[in-house]
């Protein structure tokens, strides 16, 4: 596919797949995709597919938050998902993706970390959120956030005996998710603002903005891409995110 063709289409307010600029591709979420995980989900946005697994273990709290559990978000950009992903330790793209997901959950207080305390100053729950894109056709961020929320929402604590996890056994207690803050990722191409870019669109992107919202409040943002944005453009993106927040959240079962 010729980049010039994509650009000329966008100039005429058209997209390759005939979507509106502020329209997502079809979103499908499937739960319990991996039995040994405390929670797991698959999110497909068009041909983009991400799976997320939640595992929990007992750990020690940080000295400055003795009564709070924590989350540890990791992304592995497994080379199954794209010819551009390579083996090796997480690079900047994987780390950025994990941190955007982390901040969306952490800053919105979607999880009450105090509820993850087992014994103050001694034992807490560590919630591991591991993100694996399986097919990268663009917008891994929003797919990862949706899969993460779905996996957390249906996660069950593992069985605990003498403050140790019995691996392979689950309790009936669910992890309580207080809120479902969703993330919208926009791309700016030739001064046009597009939502949910596929990988062909991403290849001609000037700038990118991810916005995590809940109930009209903004909890995390991340600007990416090599070029700048104006305040007006940012306002437009925030408006769209807030307007479409409920619709996007409704895809999570």
């Amino acid at each position: 596919m010729n980049n010039d063709y994509i650009l000329s289409l966008i100039q005429q307010d058209k997209r390759l797949d005939e979507r509106e600029f502020d329209q997502y591709r079809d979103i499908k979420i499937e739960l319990n995709v991996s039995k040994n995980a405390e929670g797991s989900a698959r999110c497909k946005i068009g041909d983009t597919e991400v799976i997320v697994g939640v595992k929990m273990d007992v750990g020690e709290p940080y000295p400055d938050n003795p009564d709070e559990g924590t989350i540890i978000v990791t992304t592995e950009l497994s080379p199954v998902a794209s010819p551009l992903f390579e083996l090796g330790p997480p690079g900047s793209q994987a780390t950025e993706l994990a941190r955007i997901v982390d901040r969306g959950i952490r800053e919105s207080k979607a999880l009450d970390f105090k509820k993850l305390c087992i014994k103050e100053g001694e034992k807490i729950w560590m919630v591991f959120i591991d993100i694996y894109p399986l097919n990268d056709d663009g917008n891994l961020i929003d797919a990862a956030v949706l899969a993460t929320l779905a996996a957390l929402k249906h996660a069950k604590f593992p069985k605990l005996e003498n403050d140790k996890v019995v691996f392979g056994e689950f309790s009936n207690k669910k992890l309580e998710l207080e809120k479902l803050p969703v993330t919208f990722t926009f791309g700016k191409i030739n001064d046009k603002i597009l939502l949910d870019l596929n990988s062909k669109e991403e290849s001609v992107i000037d700038a990118r903005l991810s916005i995590s919202v809940y109930n009209g409040d903004i909890h995390a943002m991340q600007k990416g891409g090599d070029k700048s944005m104006t305040l007006e453009e940012i306002e437009k993106m925030v408006d769209i995110a807030i307007e479409k927040e409920k619709e996007l959240r409704s895809t999570i079962k």
């Binding site: 995709v33 991996s34 039995k35 040994n36 995980a37 405390e38 797991s40 041909d47 597919e49 799976i51 697994g53 939640v54 595992k55 273990d57 990791t74 592995e76 497994s78 080379p79 199954v80 998902a81 794209s82 010819p83 083996l87 330790p89 997480p90 591991f128 591991d130 694996y132 399986l134 097919n135 990268d136 056709d137 691996f167 392979g168 990988s199």
Partner: protein, 236 residues
Amino acid sequence: MTSYDKRFSGRKFDEMREIEAKVGIIKRADGSALFRIGDTIAIAAVYGPRELHPRFMQNPETGILRCNYDMTTFSVPERKRPGPNRRGVEISLVTEKSLLPVVELKQFPNAVVDVFIEIIQANSGTRCAGISAAALALAHAGIPMKDLVAAVSVGKVGEKVLIDLDKEEEDVEDATDIPIAVTGRKQDITLLQLDGNVTKKDLVEAIKLAKHGCKKINEIQQKALKDAYKSEVKNE
């Protein structure tokens, strides 16, 4: 355990778990497949033939095959640490060797065909599921192949030789695990590993059992490939 008269799962000793195979599950890849046996799920993606980097590894005589096996952190009860480990490196190696006898890469000098295997859910037999998925993904990618490869683990629990050990059986004390890969038509063996303790008689019996199982897996693989092309024709 000395006697193991009935399997925990109720399966017959020569009965494999339910198998599902599908190709074309990863659009971005040149070829891809899912292979599920019981609760073990492997996916494989093939990229290539493509230029091999670093260049000094290039072979002007032939293309090379490169396999990588990995498990998702949450595929096992106790979270696996992300990234490679010794076990994964060894499995990647034997996976590569199990597929090499059937791939024809002479017409792709200096190129590489990459096979990436990811275990999504694990309940024993993951390397075998990975190989069965990888062979399918290579075929789906249109890589020239003399034959398919199917793999299954056989072994001995108590005094019984049996096929497709599940986790519960693998965890029995003194259980022997023998992962085996077999080519489709000639039924030659391309993977053979063994951990445990068996007599020659048991080993021969186990290999025969594996060949029998792999024949079934081969049929399922062929069907998966045919189904994919059927649906492609329908879509056009």
